[in-house]
Symmetry: none
Subunit: 202 residues, 2 copies
């Protein structure tokens, strides 16, 4: 994909996404078009850095972001990946307006459509339909998160890996295994050995 393509990104994927949840009229579409701004993040670029307030609600049009925490020992723990048509932000920091303890950065060159806190509030004021849309959207994310938590507390690394393969089969071929390891919560070496074991089985 060349730079032109990535810069020409329009708002369509987002409108389509909303339309699938709740159909929008043309006025509402115009508001969305005006208030969401496209932005390109390059691979490794920070979208949100620990210590600052998360001020943007991000919709990924193309590419892939990760939300993660760096612990005291310097290890990275990935909370969430977001690729095409998914959302990503630190929702706590965003709504409580306090400094985030999390980081977001780009694993690939990534085009997002982002809306600022103030503009999102103004969107809610324009029509309650957006309250509903964003409620549903957050509910969906919540469900995924809950499943992931359940996986994590109840499964061995191997089981978590197999589950990841099912749930994120599209990302599996796309992300470096170091990132998948940081998502599963194992060392890259151990993931490599799990894969080796799986390959022998098949």
């Amino acid at each position: 994909m060349n730079k032109e393509d990535i810069l020409q990104t329009n708002i369509d994927p987002l409108l389509t996404y909303f339309d699938k949840l709740i159909p929008l009229n043309s006025e509402e579409k115009k508001w969305v078009t005006d208030l969401f701004k496209p932005r390109l993040y390059r691979k490794r670029q920070y979208v949100l850095q620990e210590g600052v307030v998360c001020n943007q609600f991000n919709f990924v049009v193309r590419g892939c972001l990760r939300l993660y925490k760096i612990d005291d020992k310097g290890n990275t723990h990935i909370i969430q990946f977001s690729a095409e048509n998914l959302w990503l932000m630190d929702i706590g920091s965003f709504h409580q307006r306090n400094a985030s303890a999390l980081n977001i950065d780009a694993l690939e060159d990534t085009m997002v459509l982002q809306i600022s806190y103030d503009n999102l509030i103004s969107l809610y004021l324009k029509s309650p339909k957006f309250d509903r849309i964003f409620r549903v959207l957050i509910e969906n994310s919540f469900v995924s998160l809950q499943q992931r938590l359940l996986q994590n507390i109840s499964s061995t690394a191997e089981e978590r890996y197999l589950s990841f393969l099912q749930t994120y089969s599209h990302l599996h071929n796309r992300l470096p295994q170091t990132q998948i390891a940081a998502f599963l919560g194992v060392s890259p070496e151990f993931l490599s050995r799990l894969r080796h074991k799986q390959a022998k089985k098949a």
Copy 2:
């Protein structure tokens, strides 16, 4: 140079730079130390993106930045490189507070000391010495720019390349030729051929 080293950068190069223009007293040095913030940009990371207001005046401590415009056809035209002890910003956007049409990004991992618009204004108010320093600094940049323009309108690509070699001999071994080509305004292939020709001559 590893990440730790680059993060330990202190304010000295900037104070030295100012001192050479106009000696600063210790109070003034303290202001500078307080108002300029170090920041690391990783290779390929944006420092300024088209469409946003340039809000930082950047002094490069280590690394190299480029200021460039992407035209309608998607071609990149490099206006300026800035390596150690040079400044870079979109000065029009910075002072008029309007959206920039230009981009700045890092060609190497780059440590800058940057001062925000508001803080620069407050620095000017603290002492007129800073007005003078920044006047001189801009004048110097202006002269370079004028020379470059003159080169551009009056010379063939080969002449521009030779002139680049003289003026930026330190950057010549450091930057990819694609970047030099974008600076000279020729295709990378053509630059490659120019170099081939030069090599045969010598």
